[in-house]
């Protein structure tokens, strides 16, 4: 249970590298894959350590290019867990690499939830509250205190979150090997992951019909009908449609263009 292994010198170095490479997570934030590029780069210290040949490194980088989104301040914890999983994957040829992505997806939602409320909702508000009272008197200390109050905890959590995630991930792997529980974790992570993706799809994909039917005197907006059938039906159908197109082999860029065209076209026609 409590084999609290001290981290080796090399592991500590790895933790520092993960810390430093985590900062650019959102530099290329975009709609298609959100923070994936930054996350992929953040995994590089682990990837270059565990995989020596180019093909394996490329596979790992591609694996981490899947859509990713969490609160930037807490990302290292997920990087840490993923690092432990990559370490295992590199040693164990029978390791199902899909698990890495499933675990990541399972974590990004809750971490976004915790991170957003912790950093945006709590810490920032406290720091603003204290900084504002000084700034309103015209004191330069206002903004300075604000930045310090926010960023000292930020940096601590960024570093120690990585350590925690790595330890946690390693521990799971140690146990998993002994009890053959990997399949269960994989299945469990898939269930949680799919539910989180489902929830995020519902909360982030926006599509509403602006069609209005006239029945006699009455005007009935199409969206009201749809909401009665199934709220957020259109975002759901659209996502499934995209999934279907991908499954049929259509390229992501193509469906991206299709989506933009549908957005502008639908808006011009006044149906969405």
């Amino acid at each position: 249970m409590s084999e609290k292994k001290k981290m080796s010198k090399d592991e500590k170095k790895l933790m520092r590298e993960i810390f430093w490479s985590s900062f650019m997570l959102e530099a290329s934030y975009n709609y298609e894959r959100q923070q994936a590029l930054g996350f992929s780069i953040g995994m590089w210290p682990a990837i270059k350590r565990y995989y020596k040949n180019k093909k394996d490194q490329a596979d790992a980088l591609e694996r981490h290019m899947n859509i990713f989104n969490t609160t930037p301040h807490v990302v290292t914890t997920i990087t840490g867990v993923a690092t432990a999983l990559e370490k295992e994957a590199s040693k164990n040829p029978s390791f199902d690499k899909n698990i890495i992505n499933n675990v990541k997806v399972g974590l990004m939602g809750p971490f976004a939830g915790i991170g957003d409320s912790l950093f945006w909702g709590t810490l920032r508000i406290i720091a603003v509250g204290i900084g504002l009272s000084l700034a309103q008197q015209g004191s330069i200390l206002g903004p300075i205190i604000f930045l310090l109050l926010f960023n000292i905890p930020h940096m601590l959590i960024r570093y120690y979150g990585g350590v925690l995630g790595y330890k946690f991930g390693t521990q799971i792997m140690d146990r998993a090997n002994n009890s053959g529980i990997m399949q269960k974790i994989s299945k469990g992570a898939t269930i949680v992951g799919l539910m989180v993706i489902g929830a995020m799809t519902a909360s982030m994909v926006k599509l509403e019909s602006s069609l209005v039917f006239s029945v006699g005197e009455e005007k009935i907006p199409m969206q009201d009908y749809l909401d009665q059938i199934f709220p957020l039906l259109l975002p759901l159908l659209y996502t499934i449609f995209m999934y279907y197109l991908l499954k049929k082999g259509m390229k992501p860029t193509t469906i991206l263009l299709v989506t933009i065209a549908i957005g502008i076209g639908g808006s011009l026609l006044g149906i969405i």
Partner: protein
């Protein structure tokens, strides 16, 4: 001209710092206005305007994929116009929001352009070209910094009236169309994510997560908790029963598994 360059540069640099240092909040009005104030020779007004704008923009945060009005541009230009016109906080307040709203749609365009980058990123990842990936990531960042520079520069150069005129002159249909597209684009990302995960047998879990949000508006964290419990029941509890029924092979298997959750 000089002022315009200065303001544009400050906006670009602040965004650069924000995204190079993992969102340290240097683009909040309380900081932005102070720096603009210092640069334009009126630190005191800068700090005071920053305090007022911070209160107004407190709720405009970027969480998830939503693009809120752009506080950096709103606060930066609002403060600059206030100091330049010598009319203090009120002008800043009046200008900050419409400017922030305009910058918001420019940001949407940057996010769409960077979606195209991802195609390129996949190719770089496929050849394990980490230098390329870092460069691309930087290019994405610089692109947005450049956007901020141009916005700041042009806005100051042509003055507040021009800014307002411009906001009112973009075809409404294009603006709203882009907005609709912006709302749809995450669907592509999620579909990509579903591709390796979803099978015919587990599609219902996706629908369950969707429905929990759609019908009950539960926060993502709550839905995740339900997911964990459900996963536990399905994977652990039910399998355990099978083991018990199947007989007692495997001496201390259950204790081993319990340990897993005892981290």
């Amino acid at each position: 001209m000089q002022t315009a360059l200065l303001v544009g540069l400050i906006l670009a640099v602040l965004w650069f710092i924000e995204k190079m240092l993992g969102t340290p909040m240097v683009i909040r009005p309380i900081v932005v206005s102070t720096i603009i104030g210092a640069a334009l020779g009126d630190l005191q007004t800068g700090i005071l305007v920053g305090a007022s704008l911070e209160l107004i923009f407190m709720g405009f945060i970027q969480v998830g994929g939503a693009v809120p009005p752009d506080v950096l541009v709103g606060a930066g230009l609002g403060t600059a116009f206030a100091i330049m016109s010598g009319s203090g906080t009120e002008v800043a307040l009046a200008l900050a929001l419409p400017i922030a709203l305009l910058a918001q749609s420019l940001k949407v365009i940057v996010f769409i352009v960077r979606s195209w980058f991802m195609n390129f990123a996949m190719r770089l990842a496929g050849s394990a070209n980490i230098k390329g990936l870092v460069t691309l990531n930087m290019a994405g960042l610089i692109l947005q910094c450049a956007m901020y520079f141009v916005v700041g520069f042009v806005a100051i150069l042509f003055g507040s009236t021009a800014v307002e005129g411009f906001v009112n002159n973009i075809p409404e249909s294009i603006m709203s169309g882009l907005e609709v597209a912006g709302g749809l684009l995450p669907a592509v990302g999620f579909a990509l994510l579903l591709l390796p995960m979803m099978k015919k047998t587990n599609i219902l879990y996706f629908l369950l997560g969707f429905a929990l949000f759609a019908y009950m508006n539960l926060p993502i964290l709550g839905i995740t908790l339900f997911g964990v419990v459900l996963a536990f029941i399905i994977v652990y509890e039910m399998k355990n029963k099978e083991v018990e029924v199947a007989g007692n092979n495997g001496t201390n298997k259950p204790t081993d598994e319990e340990d897993l959750f005892d981290v």
